[in-house]
Symmetry: C3
Subunit: 369 residues, 3 copies
C-alpha cells in the first residue's frame, strides 16, 4: 500500500524500490483455522454467489421489443334485435390494428338508429346531456326533462349474461415478437428457428406439450391467469401476456428463448373499484337517404390483451468483473481485520503477539509498553 518514495535522487534510487509489508507469522492452529475458514467463506461468496449464481461478471441490457398480433375466429350470435349474425375479425377487433395490444369484443349494448334530436331524459343519464328546459313524457306514467342528445338514449342496463360473443373463448391469436438487445447488437424472434410453417399452421400453445408455439387460444390465456373466461367476458377486463426474455449471451443463442406467463391486469375486486371490467363506447355512422346522420352506438365490453415484453440479457464484460473482484479482495482484507482483533484481544497469549506485532514510537523516540 505504502508506495511513496522520499529520497532526493528519486528516479535512480527509489523508483524501482519494491515496498512490501513486514509480516508477523503466527503459528497457531486456532487462529490459522479461523483465518482460513473466513477466507474460504468470502471466496465461496465471491465465486459461488456473485460470479456463478448472479453472474456478476456480466454487463446487462434491457430489451427493446416490437409486437404484432393476428386474431382468428368467428362467432355466431342470435338475438331478437339482430337475428342470427356472424361476427368476424373485422367486426370484433377494435381498432383493427394496434401496437403490442389488441382488444376482442365479447359483449355489448347496442343502441341503433340514434339521431341528433330531443328526447326524454333517462334519470341517471341526465348530467351527460344538455337539457332544453321542457318537460316531456318519458313513458305513459313518468315525465322527465327533455334533453338534446343522440336519441334514443342508451338504456341503463347491465350487459347481457351470458355474453353475446361467448364463442370468443375459442378464438386464437398469433403473437409475433421481435426483440433486440441494442448494447449487444442481438436480435431474436419468438418464432424460433426450429419451428417450421406446417407446425405453425396447426399448433396451439400449451405449457406442457407446445411451449414454443406462439399461437394462443384466448380461453387458455385467461385460464392460466386463474380466471374464468365467460365471467370475464361479461364485463370485460385487461389481460397481460407477459413475454420474458432472460438471455445469457455467453451461452449458445439457441438457449435464449421466450417464456410466456399470463396475468390479469385490471382489478376485479368489486370493493375498491369504479367502472369494473373494461368497456368503451364507439359508433358506426350512417347517412339516411335524406342526408341526416344516424349512428349505431355500441357500448362494447371485451378483453384487452396487453403484450408486455421484458427481460435482461447479460454478457461477459471486464468492468463488472473487476468491480466484483476488487470488492471481493477488499472483503478479504476485512478478514484480516477480524482475525487481528481476535488474536489481539481474545487469545490468552495476546500480549505476546502484541509485542511482536506493534512497535511504538512517539514524537520523542521508541517507547516500550
Amino acid at each position: 500500500m505504502a508506495t511513496l518514495c522520499h529520497t532526493d535522487t528519486w528516479i535512480q534510487d527509489c523508483f524501482f524500490d519494491y515496498y512490501t509489508s513486514k509480516i508477523l507469522v503466527i503459528r497457531s492452529r486456532k487462529v490459522g483455522t479461523l483465518n482460513r475458514f473466513t477466507q474460504a467463506l468470502v471466496i465461496a461468496y465471491v465465486i459461488g454467489y456473485v460470479c456463478v449464481l448472479k453472474k456478476g461478471y456480466q454487463d446487462t441490457d434491457t430489451v427493446l421489443s416490437s409486437v404484432t398480433t393476428k386474431v382468428k375466429g368467428i362467432a355466431l350470435t342470435n338475438t331478437t334485435e339482430l337475428g342470427e349474425r356472424i361476427w368476424d375479425v373485422a367486426d370484433y377487433i377494435i381498432p383493427p390494428q394496434e401496437d403490442g395490444s389488441f382488444f376482442v369484443l365479447t359483449n355489448m349494448i347496442i343502441t341503433p338508429n340514434q339521431t341528433q334530436s330531443k328526447c326524454a331524459e333517462v334519470s341517471h343519464y341526465g348530467r351527460h346531456s344538455v337539457r332544453t328546459g321542457r318537460c316531456v313524457n318519458y313513458n305513459d306514467t313518468v315525465k322527465s326533462c327533455e334533453v338534446l342528445s343522440w336519441c334514443p338514449l342508451e338504456k341503463i342496463v347491465e350487459p347481457p349474461n351470458p355474453p353475446l360473443l361467448a364463442d370468443a373463448e375459442n378464438f386464437t391469436v398469433l403473437i409475433k415478437n421481435n426483440i433486440r438487445y441494442p448494447k449487444f447488437n442481438f436480435n431474436k424472434r419468438n418464432i424460433l428457428p426450429n419451428i417450421n410453417s406446417s407446425y405453425l399452421t396447426q399448433c396451439v400453445f400449451s405449457r406442457k406439450t407446445d411451449p414454443d408455439c406462439p399461437i394462443f387460444r384466448l380461453k387458455d390465456i385467461v385460464e392460466e391467469a386463474e380466471e374464468d373466461f365467460q365471467t370475464m367476458a361479461v364485463h370485460g377486463g385487461v389481460m397481460g401476456v407477459q413475454i420474458r426474455w432472460d438471455c445469457d449471451l455467453d451461452m449458445p443463442q439457441s438457449w435464449c428463448v421466450p417464456r410466456y406467463t399470463f396475468r390479469r391486469l385490471d382489478n376485479k375486486d368489486p370493493e375498491n373499484n369504479v367502472a369494473p371490467g373494461y368497456n368503451f363506447r364507439f359508433a358506426k355512422y350512417y347517412k339516411d337517404s335524406d342526408g341526416t346522420e344516424t349512428r349505431t352506438l355500441i357500448k362494447g365490453y371485451g378483453i384487452r390483451f396487453d403484450v408486455l415484453v421484458f427481460g435482461q440479457a447479460g454478457k461477459f464484460n471486464i468492468i463488472p468483473t473487476l468491480l466484483n473482484i476488487g470488492a471481493g479482495l477488499a472483503l478479504l482484507g476485512l478478514v484480516n481485520v477480524i482475525c487481528d482483533w481476535i488474536v489481539l484481544t481474545i487469545m490468552t497469549r495476546k500480549h505476546h503477539y502484541k509485542e511482536q506485532k506493534y512497535t511504538y514510537v512517539d514524537d520523542f523516540g521508541l517507547v516500550s509498553i
Copy 2:
C-alpha cells in the same frame, strides 16, 4: 494481504499460519487526529450518503406498466353548418380505445359530402392531388387546374377560434394503472387499497385535497403544465401525464404510491416548428342510395394525452451492499496512503518515523541509509 506460504511441508507447517502485518504505532496527536478525521469522513460518506441517502445496499428494477383510460363528458356545439349538436365519448375519442394514450378531439375543419370526382384545384393544395391537364373555373374570376380528388376539396383555413369543443375542458378521465416490478414479483395499482367505490364515483384529482384520486379534469392537467386549455385546444397538442412509482420495497408496501405530474410534450415555440399543435385527418364513409361512396373528411385538432409511467424500485440485496462496503474499505485504505505521505514527507520528525517504518534490503543484504 500477503498470504503465501513457502515451505516444503506445506499443509502441516504452513496452511494454518496466520499472516498479519507488523505495525508501527505512531503516538502523535497531529497525525492521529488527521487519520481519525479522514477515516470519519470516509465512513460518513459510505454510511450516510451511499447507504442512507442513495440506498447503495439495494438492488433496483424498472417498472412494467399497463394503462387503461376512460373519458367522460359531453360537449355542445352550435355552428351554422351542423346546427346544435351534442358530442359524446363515441364522437370525440379517436380511436375509441388505445393502450396508454387517448386523444380528445377539441376542434375541427369539416368537409362534408366529398366524392371521388374532378374539381378546380385550390392553389396550395395542388401537389397533393393528381392533375387531369384541363383548366377550369375555380370561381367567377379565377381559373385553375382541374384535379382528380375527393371533391369538394378541403378549404385551406385556420381552425375555428375559440375551438368548437371548448367544453372539453370539463371532461374527466379515469386513469387505471397497474404496475409490476418483475425482479421483486411486486404488483400494485394506482387505485390504492384505502380508496372505496363511493369516493371514486365523485372525486377529482387535486394536488392539495385529493392527491390519490385517479380521476383528472382535463383542464387541471393542462393548467398544471402551465398551459391554457382554450389556447391549446385550437391547434391541439400533446400532453404527458407522468406517473412516477419510486418504491422502497424494504419499507411497508403502503408507502409505495404513484406521484402524478403533467408536462406539455409537443413544441409550442412557433420559431422552430413545422405543423404546430397536433392534428390528423380522418373520414366517415357513407354510401348514397345509388351506391356511390361519399365521405365526410374531418381534420381533427385535439389533445393527445400520453400516460408515461416510470420509476424504480429498490430492495435490499447482498451484492450491491458488499460491493459498496468493499469499495468503502478500499477507500479506507486510501486514508492510510494519505496519512503515510504526510507523516513521512511533511512532519518535522519524518526521518525518525522513516527509520522505524522501513527496513531496506538490496540484492546483497541489509542496508542502512
Copy 3:
C-alpha cells in the same frame, strides 16, 4: 488496515495512535520494474478504460419518450372494380392516429357489398363460417356447403402484384420525438434548436446531406434497411425506425442528438413463417335505404412503422466514481500479492528476502527457521 486499539485507558492513550505498516523495501531492479509495470497496467486500465472509454464515473438513466407522426402524400389507383381513385391520408392511415407507430396501407383485397346472409362456402374458408347444413351450388359445376356469413365471401386470392398503392413509396412522414431523462431532469426534442421552420417545410432526411431532418421518405426508410419497397408493399411488413439518444450530459447539451437507423422487424424468411408480411381485415359499414347493413371488407396489406426510441444518458456521479476507484485500489493491492509471490518463490535471493519479511511466532514464543 489494522486499526484496533487494545489499552485500557482507551481515549487518551490510544484514540489518536496512528497505525502504519512496517515496510520492507527491496532494492532490486527486477522486482521494482515488475512492480511498477503491473501498477502502471492497473492504473491505465482504471483511468483509460473504466473512466475515459466506459465513463465509469457516470450515473446512467434510460430514456422516456413520446412520439407523434404525420404522413403526407397522395396515391392514384386505376382498377376495373373502382376505376380511377385517389387515396389520401384519411384513406390509407389506419387507425388515423396511434402512439409511436403508424400503418400505411399499400395493397388490399376488397370485398364490397357484403351482407349477413347465406352463401356457398369457399373450400378453404369453411372453418371460419357457420354451416347451415344445406348443400348448394358454388358455381355451375361445383357444389359446396351453405354457410351463414357476411356474403359474398372474400375470395382466396393472392394480393395484387404490383401493389395497388405503389405510389406510397414517395409518401413522407414527419416524426416528432420528445425525450426525457427523468433522473437528470433533462428534456430534448428531435427537432433541434438550429432547425428553422422554412428548412422543415422542404427537407427530407438523408444520411449524408440532411442527417438532422426529421422528415423521412418511406422508400428511403425501407431501402436503408436493405429491403425493396415495392416487394415489401405487396404482402406488407413491419419496419423499425430506431432513434438512439446516447447523451453525455457532462458535455454541452447540443452534442446530445438523435441518431436514426432502420431495420425490418418481421421475418421475411418464407421457411419459418406463418402469415408472412403484415395484414389485417377491417370493414366500412353502410346502411341501405331499406335499413339493412352492408359492409365493404378490406384485407389491408401494408407497412407498419414502429418508432423505437432508446438510449442512455450519463452524468458525473460520486458513487459510481468512488466504486470504481475503490475497486481500482483493491486491484492495486493485488499487484503486491503477485510481486510478493515472485520475490519469495522465484528469485534467487528469496531466502534472504523471506528472512527479512517474516517474523515467526508460535504459541510459545519467537521461532527461527
